[in-house]
């Protein structure tokens, strides 16, 4: 045993082995994806930017109740529609993106089929130069991303 260890130590075997590992990696193919020219496609379940569908929404406010951080602010009022029945009309549907942790509990709570609020939009480029305006989404920005200039859609995924 002692002879083996002495032999290894003297011939610097461990050091040469280490050098061979890095030497091998010098010639291996690299897996780097060079952003922004190449972008990785997010998966189908990727939790990104919000989208809201106002027509499907039944204004049950379950999403606001389930949100762990209470960043969804919903206001609605009753109105009589043409048939004379009471109908809920959405006044305000705000999501404070500054504090959102993208946990998807709001989407899970939504009872409509298909969901009225969803995060699986594969969009993650929502950076903004000013926080308070661009990172506070109101109903216009949620339903139509063209109103939110800082949001760059990855691919527009329409949940039909």
């Amino acid at each position: 045993m002692a002879l083996k260890k002495w032999l290894d130590k003297l011939t610097l075997l461990d050091l040469f082995d280490g050098l061979s590992v890095t030497g091998r990696h010098l010639f291996k193919k690299k897996v780097t994806i060079e952003y922004p020219e190449q972008k990785k496609l997010p998966s189908d379940r990727f939790r990104g930017m919000f989208r809201l569908d106002e027509e499907r929404c039944i204004k049950c406010t379950l999403c606001a109740i389930e949100c762990p951080i209470n960043i969804i602010y919903i206001d609605w009022h009753n109105e009589k529609n043409e048939a004379g029945k009471n109908e809920k009309v959405l006044d305000r549907f705000d999501v404070d993106l500054k504090r959102c942790m993208f946990c998807q509990l709001c989407e899970e709570a939504c009872p409509t089929v298909p969901k009225s609020i969803w995060l699986t939009t594969k969009t993650y480029e929502m950076a903004a130069y000013d926080r308070n305006e661009s990172l506070y989404l109101d109903i216009r920005k949620l339903t139509d991303w063209r109103e939110a200039p800082n949001v760059k859609p990855f691919t527009v995924v329409e949940r039909g």
Binding site: D8, T11, L15, T22, G23, H25, L26
Partner: protein, 387 residues
């Protein structure tokens, strides 16, 4: 009008001082980052310029345009002087290094070195010692007790490793009996024997001590980021930091150049005995020199990306308890080999075969033992315990 010899000397000095920092900044910094990146399974910088070649320029511009901060209670004069003291010895050392054989330009023969003094090696060792001042003063003048500690540690390391470096070179001196670097190359040319072969042990000690001298991994504890601070150059920014940086990398070049000159034949092509490989002599000597030095710089980068760092007390123990006794023993062995066959190189040739043969044999034995042990271990452990 004939140009006086001094003209050529001045021209060479200007060229060296102008190109070497540029090479350091543009080529070595870029090469290090790119090669280290490749070894680490990633691409290095490849944005600035085609394939990233202008990264050195970007770094230089950034450092030069940074604010020059001097800590409030520091000694301003010393704070200013320290980087200068780190850079000047390294640049001065370039003067004695022979970059190639003398070239004929018209009727004059210009040697490719600035000065061939007959105490070349001693001059180089002396300059390395002066470089230590820059580090101590840099650490002390920052008015930061952690910088001071880092500077003192670095200085202790540098001073300790100068001894094995010198002793390793002494064993080569026994083979050449001259301190002049040009003379060392000529002797390797005359005897057709690169001093690496009889001086294998001396080369290993020299290179390890050289890596320690330049504060490079695995001996870079004084300037490691994961230690308390970045060592003596914490309080330096902008051009002053660039100077420290430049000094370290130029010292790397100097160590590599000396290793090439003393152990690997300087500008000589390999295999001079083999008639079939005579075409190698067509390649200009300066190009051979450049290739060899590049190989050593690659070795520096390779070491940096592979090895962990020695702790400071282990570092000092390695230098004093291992390298110095081994280099002393090496001197005795080489002297013995030379004395056995006075006036001829037979002793050295025997020594090369003994050293080389022994090392290759032991390495193969060790590798064989490792493979067998691995196979035994895999066969012995049940399937459940293996990965």
């Amino acid at each position: 009008m004939t140009l006086s010899p001094m003209f050529w000397t001045y021209l060479k000095v200007v060229l060296l001082v102008a190109t070497v920092p540029a090479i350091v900044g543009f080529v070595i910094v870029f090469a290090e980052r790119r090669i280290m990146g490749f070894m680490q399974a990633r691409l290095g910088p490849n944005r600035v310029g085609p394939q990233g070649v202008l990264q050195g320029l970007a770094d230089l511009l950034k450092l030069v345009t940074k604010e020059d901060i001097t800590p409030a209670k520091s000694e301003k004069a010393v704070h200013f002087l320290a980087p200068v003291l780190a850079v000047i010895p390294a640049l001065t050392a370039l003067a004695v290094i022979p970059f190639g054989p003398p070239v004929k330009v018209g009727k004059t023969t210009i040697p490719l070195w600035v000065a061939d003094i007959n105490i070349g090696l001693l001059f180089l060792l002396a300059l390395t010692s002066i470089g230590v001042y820059g580090i101590i003063l840099g650490g002390w003048s920052s008015n930061n007790k952690y910088s001071l500690l880092g500077g003192l540690r670095s200085a202790a390391q540098l001073v300790s490793y100068e001894v094995p470096m010198g002793l390793a070179l002494v064993s080569v001196l026994l083979m050449t009996r001259s301190l002049s670097l040009v003379e060392i190359v000529r002797r390797q040319e005359a005897t057709h024997l690169w001093f690496f072969f009889p001086g294998m042990v001396a080369f290993f000690i020299y290179f390890v001590a050289g890596v320690a001298e330049t504060n490079r991994n695995p001996f870079d504890l004084p300037e490691a980021e994961s230690e308390l601070v970045s060592g003596f150059n914490t309080e330096y920014s902008g051009v002053k930091f660039a100077f420290f940086f430049l000094g370290e990398y130029t010292a790397m070049i100097i160590i590599s150049c000396v290793a090439v000159t003393v152990f690997f034949g300087g500008w000589l092509p390999p295999f001079p005995n083999v008639k079939q490989l005579d075409f190698l002599g067509l390649v200009p000597g300066a190009l051979w020199f450049l290739l060899k030095v590049s190989g050593f710089i690659f070795a520096y980068i390779w070491f940096r990306s592979t090895f962990p760092r020695y702790r400071f007390d282990q570092l000092m123990a390695l230098g004093w308890k291992w390298l110095i006794p081994i280099s002393l023993a090496n001197i005795l062995v080489v002297a013995f080999a030379i004395l056995l066959f006075p006036g001829r190189t037979t002793g050295l040739v025997w020594l090369s075969w003994i050293f080389g043969g022994l090392f290759v044999l032991m390495y193969l034995l060790a590798k064989l033992r490792q493979t067998l042990a691995r196979r035994d271990r895999l066969a012995a452990t049940p399937q459940s315990a293996q990965g």
